[in-house]
């Protein structure tokens, strides 16, 4: 079972209290972008075995969006953090490095 802690209200609950929002830290290419950029934004999601970054919404709770760093194999959650950022904060990256040395995900490591 995936257990998440919402950083907005502090509640810890299993995943049915939340709603997944897909891959985190996407660049939203829109008007003016190239076809390749727009195609990549729409379709080229990563599907890693291991460390992954996602957006979640506390849909049945405080209603707020946040980010989660977790392992897709073990469902271990390394940490959750604010939605108002374009990259994982250092303390989250440090937590992942402590448990999965040498990890990388897109441009982050």
């Amino acid at each position: 079972m995936l257990i998440l802690t919402c950083p907005c209200c502090g509640v810890t609950a299993e995943e049915t209290e939340f709603h997944p929002g897909g891959e985190a830290h996407l660049t939203r290419y829109g008007p003016g972008s190239s076809d390749d950029e727009f195609h990549g934004y729409l379709f080229e999601k990563v599907n890693p075995k291991g460390v992954h970054f996602e957006r979640w919404r506390h849909a049945n709770g405080c209603g707020k969006w946040f980010h989660a760093a977790r392992c897709t194999v073990t469902l271990e959650v390394f940490g959750t953090y604010s939605a108002q950022t374009t990259e994982p904060p250092q303390h989250i990256k440090d937590k992942i490095s402590a448990k999965r040395p040498g990890w990388s995900w897109r441009e982050f490591a």
Binding site: C8, C9, V11, E14, T16, A59, G61, C62, G63
Partner: protein, 191 residues
Amino acid sequence: MSEAVSALNRASRDGFVRVEECGLQGMVSLRGDLDSAKLAKAVTAAAGLDVPETGRILASEGRSVAWMSPDELLLIGPYAEAEPMRTALDTELAGEHALAVNVSDARAMFRLSGRDADVREVIAKLCPVDMAPGVFEPGRFRRTRMAQIPAAIWMPEPGEMRVVCFRSVADYAMTLLGNAADKGGEVGVFA
């Protein structure tokens, strides 16, 4: 004027816990900056209470203020007081980036009563919330999932729980709570 009625008009069901729909309740949703002194003053003017801390509910003299989210409170009181509460908030918050809405007729409230362990068990059957004594206690306010609907729960005192949900799903909520409280369905997990 038409006569206002609550969703289930005080329907009740008796099992190992009693489940009642509470009838008409005054509820005002307030969104704004919960850290602002002006908002705190407005809440005190409207309900006579302070702004609760994260995940908490404050109650006094028939009024309650619950923490709904980082930018939302729910003020609860008698049905006839909802409009005066909303007006007081609007007056106090003039010029602020805030919104007060009377949602009394858009919500339903339920009261569960019985032995403390039994009341905890009925909620624990339906919500992914740790209802163990010492974990969930009076003063906590929790928005969560109750089977297939969103709900908010709190414990005014041991042996009593309150549940708020959308009015449109009041019948579903009553059936859920009633079934979970049916005699013969006791698990005794907190006994």
